[in-house]
Every structure is written in C-alpha cells, then in structure tokens.
C-alpha cells in the first residue's frame, strides 16, 4: 500500500482532469509487510514553505480561538510584542517575541499543510464538475429541453448519450450504458450502468461513453456526491470529532491550570525578591501549556481523513473514522473479501474403474469451451497437477464445442466420435441416462462427500464405444485469499471479532470459515439476518463495521457504526453508509479500522509527548528565574545551561521547533502494528512517554550550546 501512496505524492496535479489518485491496486494482502501498512505517504518539506502564506492568514483571532491552547500563545505573542516595542533595546524581549510568533505560525502551518494536501485533490475534482447542460425530459416525457445542470431538481428525468457528462447524481431508469468514472474513482476502465438492479447509480461529473440512458435525478445541485467529496477533501465540512472535542477540553483545563500557576507566580516571586518581567512569565506560560498537541491536533484529524482519501475511501464524517478505531466486530462478505470471487477446481476424483489421468483428460477436454472462471480453473488444474498441456480448440479439427449455458449447465465437446460432458450433477446424470448409459454407483457418494466438505461437485461423463458413463467428479471449492488467515489472527489479537457473511448453506460456510480462520459466520444470510446480527452485537455494547452495495444492504449499512458502501453499489446503499469505497474493494474494511486506530494513537502519543516535555522545561526555566534570589535553586539547572536568558530562550525555541519537527509524524500518523492493547501501550508509552521526558533535555541543551555562542547571550 505504501508504494501506491508514494506515487501520488510524487505526482503533481496535472492540468487535465487526470485522476489525482492512482487506481487502487489490490495488492494481495498477505504479501504486504504488517509494518507501515497504514502509512500516510511521504512528507515533503517543500509543503511547509508552500503553506506558509496560509499559515500567516490563519493568525486571525476568530480562527485561532477555536484552539484554546494556541489562542493563549497568540495572546502571549501580542503581549510580548507590545512589551518589546516599549523597550526596543532589549534584545531578549525581541528574541522571545519572535519565537512566540513563530510558535503560533508553526501551529497554523501544521494545519495548513494538512489542508493543502486535500486542496490539490479538490481542485481536480472541481474540474470534473464543469457546468453541464442537462437534457431534461419534459413532463409528458416526449420532448427534451436544455437546462443548466444547476437547475435540476430531485425527480427530474434527464437523457444522456455517448459523450455527455452526467449532470447530476441519480439512478438509471431506462437503458444501459458504459460510463467513464475516472474523474471520481481514478479507475480508467469504464463501468456498466443499467436500469434496475444494483448497478443503477450514476454520479454527476462522470461521462457516458456509449449508448443512451435516462436518469432520474436523486440529489439537489450543490449536494451531489462530487460536491460532498470536494468539501470533505478540503476540510470545509470538517467538524471536530467527539474524541477531539474531549481532548480539547482536557487541554483547555491543563492550559487553565498552567495559566494559574504562572499568574500566581508573580506575587511569590516578589516576596522572594525576584520580580519577573512579563516577558519571562509569558515565555514560561507558553512553554508549559500543551502547545505541541494543541498545534497538531487539527492537523492529525485532517491527515487521518486524508489517509482514507488516499486509499480512495470517502468518510462522510470524522466521527465514522473514529468509530472505525473502536470497532470490535467486522462483518465481512465472503465473496470478494475472504475468498476470491470464484470457485476453483481443486481435485479430480474418479469413480471406480477410472483412473485419475483419464478423468483429468476428459475434464480438460470438456472445459476448453468453458470460459467461466470455474472452467478455466479446471484446465489450469489439469495442467498443473496432471501435466496435461492445454489444447486449443483449433487443434482438434472436427470438434463440435458445446459452451456452458445457464440453461444446460453443462459444457463439453464432441470429437472423434467421443462425447465429453462436464457440469452440474443433475444435468450430467440426466444426460448420461438420456444417452442410455448408467451412472456409476459411487458417483452419488463422491458428490455427497464433496458437498459436505463445503465444495461444489461437477460430474464428468463420456459417451464413446463403451457407452455413456460417469468418469468422476471435479471438486470445486472456494479459494480463500492468500494471507487472510494471518490477517484475521492479527485482528483477533487486536480484539476484533470477524464474522463471515455468506449466502452459502451452513455446511459450506462452516468449511470456508474454518479455512479462512474467521471467528464466526452467518450462513444463508438475508438482509434481515444481517440486520439482526448487527443489532445483537450492538446490544452487547460492540461497535460493528460492515460493507455492502445492494439496496437491500442499506438498512444494515445505516445501522452499522461503520458502514462502507461500495461505489459500484446503489445510491441507496451509498446514502445509508457513512463511508464510500471508490474502489469497491471490501477487503479495505480492515485497513479502515487500522486507519481509525492510527488516528487515535497519534493523538494520544503526541498528547503524552507534549505533557512529558514540560518536566525538562521547568528544569530550564525555574533556575533561570530564581537562582538569583535563592542560589540553591541553581542545582536544578541540571542541563548546565549557559545563562538565564539563554536557558529561557532555548526552552522557547525548543517548544517552537518541536512542533515543526513533529508535523511529519502528525501527517503520517505514528507507526501502527496490529497487536494487543498491552503491547501497543508498552511500546507507545516507552516511545512517547519516556521519549517525551528525555528528548527536551537533550534538545534544549543543544539549542543552548548553539545560541550561547552568540556574543552577549552565553
């Protein structure tokens, strides 16, 4: 996954409406190293420079007040500026003032950079949203009128033909067409949209490539899918998520505590005979309040959404992303998520009196004309297991090919007086008996065994000089995607239960569930069953995530805490879910959960780091302030900082620079490995808790060493 993300970052937005996102590559999940799976792409230092003007623009107090911590820094910067202006010869006052302003700007920079990444995507989307002229059908449905796309109302019927841009979101009510949806999905291969069924939804801004369709508009202009996408990637629609609000409350209360600690310090200092200048007190305050996390908090949230967008997933709310981290039950559709889409031949089982080689030969022959994936897999198995070279239809001269149809449910070939057939048990038995042959006694037992093991049996029969007879059975089975078992084991370690949803009978479902290693399965699942399962899990306090695409999935998608609708699905499904996967790849649900977790971890890690940092700052600033009054306090200067001024300045500079230093981490998210909560906590506490204690001691000392070289400071 990391690879395709890197690619996007390296690719500048081009002039034409080319997709900004590389088409999703479904890398077999098991092959990816667990590490860095949800990495967020490279961070380019140039982005910092580019976003600088935006950062300055964000100094508007009306904007800043939304982050209480940074608002205090802004007020502090203004205060020190006034003081520095009153005493322009005081270099120390100016130095502090400059660094306080830088602290504020750096905080805005973090947010601006995070937003900047979304802006590029939004620009490309806007190009797709060119003003279209819609061909609206009049009330009587007989004639057309041209109206601007912006004047369409819900329920209007519009006509689109090859070359037209679809003017708004809607459902196809008449006709079939191939549509180029690359403007939204980045996938260049056209998709089929047809009236009725689960593939009727079309999105405004996409282009009809062939044929004619009539679309019933389902959204108001300005609220279309593409509008929502633009808002989302730009962060315009961004609202603080519940956890972010809670964290902000805690940070605000810590800010108040430190504000009190600093404000009340002056009377104590006066009594001690060490009255402090307002500049020093402001510097102390800014160093103590949790500026690091305060500065990066919104960037972390934006970047989290962005990481989803990079994976072609649109979260309709930040709340859903957070909920994804909390999910404890995953409902996964079997087909496409757990197993490859199709069954594959796994084994040839001959009846008594036939050899496996004989059966393989007949099976291969009968499947040459079968272009279904199952048919292809039989040819492949014959080649791989029995060394039978694939014969081409042309090689066999006088052959008459019988293709597989849904009616006959058989395929085969008549060649050299031999008739070979392969197909569903019932059809083949009927064919053999129709040819006057006899079905081997053990054929029934063999097919039963395969059915019970969760497989699908196909019979192979032949009619030649010896008459019509069954040769054996082909064992078709669902093939579990590679690496799924490991993936589910990881999920289990993270405390997430996986439930496989399938329309198969319980027997088949159980066999696949065991093979894939899911915790539970729901067989012969109807939408109602799915809904009931979700409600049952939720009643136990669990959060449930699922994917779905059909209209009958819509209620369940709405009920689930995280409902990921496939972009290929119906508009009802897309409306009901709180995320849309543009790639329509259900396996992504697992990644979505990981991104949600990573978002929360990043927040927690930087909060811990930010608070732990304060210890060192006290050891720098308190002796600097009071060693004059109480010389004993100089023993607290364990870093051996050069002078009181250099100590305070170093702490302020460290405080500002650490924000910039952590911007990449905030944007990329902390490294995430699926593991148990215990190990994760141990690791992150060590890294960000202990690290947060120690790092500033080193950082402040280094800065002090540097600035004490400046004459007059050291």
């Amino acid at each position: 996954m990391t690879t395709d993300v890197k690619k996007q970052d390296a690719m500048p937005p081009t002039k034409e409406a080319a997709p900004t996102r590389a088409p999703h590559q479904d890398v077999p999940t098991g092959h990816k190293p667990a590490e860095g799976r949800v990495g967020g792409g490279l961070f380019d230092p140039k982005q910092l420079l580019k976003s600088f003007p935006d950062a300055v623009r964000k100094l508007d107090p009306r904007v800043m007040v939304k982050s209480p911590v940074m608002f205090v820094v802004l007020v502090g910067s203004v205060v020190t500026t006034v003081l520095a202006l009153k005493d322009p010869t005081d270099w120390f006052g100016w130095a502090i003032t400059v660094w306080l302003w830088l602290t504020t700007v750096f905080a805005n920079l973090a947010e601006a950079v995070a937003e900047g990444r979304g802006k590029a995507q939004a620009d490309t989307l806007r190009k797709a949203k060119t003003d279209t002229v819609a061909r609206r059908l009049t009330q009587d449905g007989k004639s057309e009128e041209s109206v601007p796309g912006t004047e369409l109302r819900i329920g209007d019927l519009v006509v689109c033909e090859a070359g037209d841009i679809i003017p708004g979101d809607g459902d196809v009510v008449e006709g079939v067409a191939s549509v180029d949806e690359s403007a939204i999905t980045g996938e260049s291969a056209p998709v089929i949209r047809e009236s009725g069924g689960d593939r009727s939804a079309v999105t405004g801004g996409t282009k009809v490539l062939s044929d004619r369709i009539v679309i019933k508009i389902t959204t108001k202009p300005g609220e279309t899918f593409i509008d929502r996408m633009i808002n989302l990637v730009e962060g315009a629609a961004r609202q603080k998520t519940p956890n972010e609000i809670a964290l902000n409350i805690l940070l605000a209360s810590l800010t108040i505590v430190f504000l009190l600690a600093v404000v009340t310090l002056q009377p104590f200092a006066v009594y001690a005979g060490a009255k402090q200048s307002l500049i020093v007190l402001t510097a102390l305050l800014v160093c103590l309040i949790p500026t690091t996390i305060g500065a990066l908090l919104s960037a972390i949230g934006i970047a989290g959404m962005d990481r989803l967008v990079q994976r072609n997933v649109l979260a309709m709310s930040g709340r859903a992303v957070e909920a994804a981290g909390d999910v404890s039950t995953l409902l996964l559709d079997k087909t496409g998520t757990i197993t490859l889409g199709n069954r594959q031949a796994a084994e040839f089982v001959p009846v008594k009196g036939t050899t496996a080689a004989e059966l393989a030969d007949a099976a291969q022959l009968s499947s040459l004309a079968d272009e279904t994936p199952e048919g292809r897999s039989i040819v492949v198995l014959a080649k791989e297991k029995y060394g039978l070279r694939e014969r081409h239809q042309g090689e066999l001269g006088q052959a008459e090919w019988i293709a597989f149809t849904a009616q006959t449910r058989m395929s085969g070939v008549d060649v050299d007086g031999r008739k070979v057939r392969k197909g569903a048990t019932g059809s083949v038995v009927a064919w053999v008996e129709g040819q006057g042959g006899r079905v081997a006694e053990d054929a029934q037992a063999l097919t039963d065994t395969i059915s019970q093991a969760g497989g699908t049996p196909l019979l192979v029969a032949v009619e030649d000089a010896d008459g019509a007879r069954v040769l054996g059975v082909i064992h078709l089975k669902d093939v579990v995607k590679e690496g799924m078992r490991e993936r589910f084991d990881e999920l289990r370690r993270m405390g997430i239960k996986t439930v496989m949803i399938t329309g198969d009978n319980p027997l088949t479902a159980k066999a696949i569930a065991e093979e894939a290693g899911v915790d539970d399965f729901l067989a012969e699942a109807t939408p109602e069953d799915k809904m009931a399962l979700i409600k049952r899990e939720q009643a136990g306090g669990k959060l449930v995530a699922m994917t779905g695409d059909g209209t009958n999935d819509a209620p369940a998608l709405a009920q689930a805490d995280v409902g990921v609708a496939m972009n290929t699905g119906t508009s009802a499904a897309k409306e009901a879910g709180n995320m849309v996967d543009l790639d329509s790849n259900p396996t992504k649900l697992i990644e979505i959960v990981e991104i949600g977790k990573q978002l929360l971890i990043t927040r927690g890690a930087l909060t811990t780091f930010s608070i732990a940092n304060d210890v060192a700052k006290y050891f720098a600033i308190i002796p600097a302030m009071f060693a004059v009054a109480y010389p004993g306090l100089d023993k607290l200067n364990i870093m051996g900082l050069a002078s009181p001024e250099s100590a305070i300045l170093s702490a302020v500079i460290f405080n500002a620079l650490i924000i910039v230093a952590l911007v990449p981490l905030a944007l990329k998210g902390v490294q995430y490995r699926p593991t148990s909560a215990d190990r994760m906590l141990r690791r992150n506490l060590g890294l960000y808790g202990l690290g947060g204690l120690i790092a500033p001691f080193i950082g402040i000392k280094l800065i002090d060493l540097l600035i004490s070289l400046i004459p007059g400071i050291g």
């Binding site: 009340t264 310090l265 608070i611 210890v615 009071f626 109480y630």
Partner: protein, 554 residues
Amino acid sequence: MSPQTAGVLQLLALIGALALAYRPLGDYMARVYSSEKHYKPEKWIYRAIGANPGTEMRWPAYLRGVLAFSAVSVLFLYALQRLQGVLPGSLGFQSIDPDQAFNTAASFVANTNWQSYYGEQAMGHVVQTGGLAVQNFVSAAVGMAVAVALVRGFARSRTGELGNFWADLVRGTVRILLPMAVIGALVLVACGAIQNFAGIHEVGQFTGGSQQWNGGAVASQEVIKELGTNGGGYFNANSAHPFENPTPFSNLFEIFLILVIPFSLTRTFGRMVGNLRQGYAILATMAVIWIGFTALMMWTEFAGHGPAFEAAGGAMEGKETRFGIGASAIFSVATTLTSTGAVNSFHSSYTGFGGGIQLLGMQLGEIAPGGVGSGLYGMLIMAVIAVFIAGLMVGRTPEYLGKKIGTREIKFAACYILITPALVLCFTAAAMALPTPANSMTNTGAHGFSEILYAYTSGANNNGSAFAGLNADTQWFNSTIGIAMLLGRFLPMVFVLALAGSLAEQKPVPETAGTLRTDKPLYTGLLVGTIMIITGLTYFPALALGPLAEGLAS
C-alpha cells in the same frame, strides 16, 4: 536497634496490619453499601429525618442530599459555637468569634479539621463532643457516600441511579465508623488516652509555676479523628499530646486507623464493580506513592546535615522523643497523603525537603490513599484522566471499567482537577500580594512562604494540618481558608456525582484484547506517572520558591 531500623520495622508492621484488615474490612464495606436490609436504629433515623432509604436517586438528587445535609451541619455547628457562652458544660469558655466560628464550622463539615483555635482553651465539652465529634463521623460518612455513588456509576449501566444518599450516610456512620470507633477508643484508652468529662486541673510543675490540664472525651474523639481522616485534635498539640497519643504503640495504632479505611475501600470498589483486580490496581497505585513518600521522608529526615542533626541522629526538632524520627515521618506522610491532618510532630520543623514532601502529598489531591471516600473518588478521577491520555495510545476511544470516557466524562474530570489548584494558588497569591496577611508569618524567606502555601494547600485539599508558625486566627485567614475548605470539599463532589451519573447511564463496552488493561502493573505505573507529572507541573514553581529553595540552600 538503630532509629532507622526501628522506623522501617514500624512501617513493615503497619503494612502487615493493613494487609490483614484489607480483605475483611473491604468486603464488609461492600456488603454494607449493597445490602437491602435496614436495621432498627437506622429506621428510627430515617423516620426522624423523613427520608425514604429505598428510593434510588439520580445524581442531582444525590448531590442535593449531600449539599443540604452539609449546609445544615455548617449552620448548626456555627450556631453551637456562637452560643457556647450560654450553653452548660462549656467549661466557662466564651462564645467563639464569628469569623473563627465560620472557619471551624466549615472546617469540620468539610472533613478538614483545620483549627485556628486552641482546643483546650476555647472549646468546651458540648461543642467538642456534641458538635465537632459528630461532624467527625458524618463528614467522613458523606465522603464515603460520594465515593460509593461514583463506584455505583461504574458498576451500573443504563440507569442514572446512584443509590440513596441518606441510606449511604446513615449506614456509613452506623455500620462502619461507629463500631470501629468503639473498638478503637477502647484500644486507645487501654494505651492511656483519657476519656472523661472532668474540668480543668491546675497542676504544679517541677520547675515551679503551674500548668492547666483539661479533661474530656478525648479517646472517643481521637479515634474518629484518625478513622474518619478528620485530624482535628482535642488539644492544640494534637497527636503529639500524651493524652491523645500516649505511647509508640498508640502512635502506630493511630496511623493504622488513618490508613485502614481509605486503603480497604479499594477492595470495596473492586467488589462492587465485580472485578477485584481493578481494586488491586488502584490499591497498588496508592501503595506505591505512599511507600515512596514515606521512604523519601525517612531518608530526608534521617539524613539532615549539620552539627545539631548529627547530635540528635537526624532532624529531631519539633518531633516527640517518644516517637522518634521514623514514627514521626510515617505519621506525617500518612496524615498528609490522607485528608487527615492530625500531627504528632511539627511539620514546620521538618527539613526543607520534608516540608516539600508534606506539601506535595496534599497537592496530589490526597489520593494515596486519601481521605475516607474522597481518596477513592479522587484516585478514580485521576484514573479516568490517565486512561484518557494513554488509552488513546492503544487506538480506541478511551474506556475505563467498560465505560467510555467521552466528552461529558472528561469535562467533569477536567473540572475536578482544576478546583484545588485554583483555590490553593489563587488564595496563596492573594495572601502574598496583600499587605496584611503576611503579618501572620513568623518566619522570613522561603520558609515563611511555605507557611502560607501550606495553609491554603491544607485547607483546599481538606487536610487540616498546619505547618505551624502561621498565626491563622485572623479575619483574613479564617475567612479565606474557610471558603477554600468549603469549595475544596463540595465543588469536586458536584463533578464526581455528575460523572457518576453520566457513567451509570452508559451501556458497558465489552472487554476485548484491544482494550487497555487497567488491572496490570503497566497501568499502575502509568497512573502513578500521570498523577506525579500533572500535580508536579502544577505546583513546581510554588514548591521551588518554598521547600525546594529551602532544601537546596544547604
């Protein structure tokens, strides 16, 4: 045996005794607060106050009960002191001045027992026994009730109901504090503490001159003074007075009384939330801080440098020779880490660092193990904060005991941790900035500052011990410390109960492998770290200018 060894052995004996009492007392308290039964005497009380002990209360109703009861108590105690001059059995003492009467009423109702008066020279039998001693029981029972309400908040789900305040108050008093106090008083009397209603005796001294000795119901008040983490002594010298605390054994026994309920409440907590391991984790957190502080205190008091220290074998100034440095250190840490505030030595005379340890102990919010009830709820609030900060690092919305710590919960917890620092720092700053309060200081420099910082720290955290050396019987100190005590006691309770209500409404989140385990040593370490860092950061500048400046000077 060296004094150091004696100190360590006493500490070990204390730990042993606490460990023995832990299970039975903790389980007993859980049964008391979960029982459906009402005893006869309890029913009489309910009838007398017109309360129905069977009705469940939501948090606002519970809070109204707490506040109404406490307000009536303050008024009653105030009136009793103001009328002392005309009441019989007052040993001829005058009525108390309004500002001091307010201060004392607030102090005893807030479970603080800050005393700006000399017990033996101001309060007669009626006020001491009918007013102050009664509050020693019920103010402690109020603290326990609020703690139990919070525990119910964690234990219950999909309800806003937190139990019945009146039932919790009466049961805490009648079934827990009273029986324990009776046994404890007998032990103290056996040790030699006095228990009578005698008047004032004039006693001749060896060196000539005379001395006044008061009689009084001392043992009964002494036992609840410790057991209810109150701390208000019958005599001004408090537990350093031989009538209150006659022998080294009674001394150790009093420390045991101070600590036994707060520590055992963690078991009650574990029982009531149905997970004993969670109780042990909280116990471990408390124990680590308590033992750490005690060790530090012993170290700094034994290690004092200079000729006087070396002659005495440590910092003996202000400590009773009956107890020595070890037992004094253990007592002073126990009293400042709980909301007790009883003293058997003069805190002002401790080394600079020793004074710092006492101050920090109170500033932690008195949660290791803390006051009866208040220690548990204070610690649980910190546990919520720690879970919130660190819990995010496991990639889930933070949860504690199956309850989500969301916006509402963190709002209440954040308000809780704001209150005492705000009171301590603002009042201390005001006292330092205004011209008159500083006249009360009897020391200059860092030590003088420590006196005032200590006074407000003690008041706002409901400790009640005094650093000594500060003349606190002035209108300014009586009023401001009185306000600090009331706000420091009852504002946090508002947020604790609001939090409890919010938690009780939630449905529980099942525990999975992805849940942060709060019953493991790692979490205990995290909790200790959070407590130390958050409090340390709040008070570091103030401590630097007081005890640290003093301690680092030598």
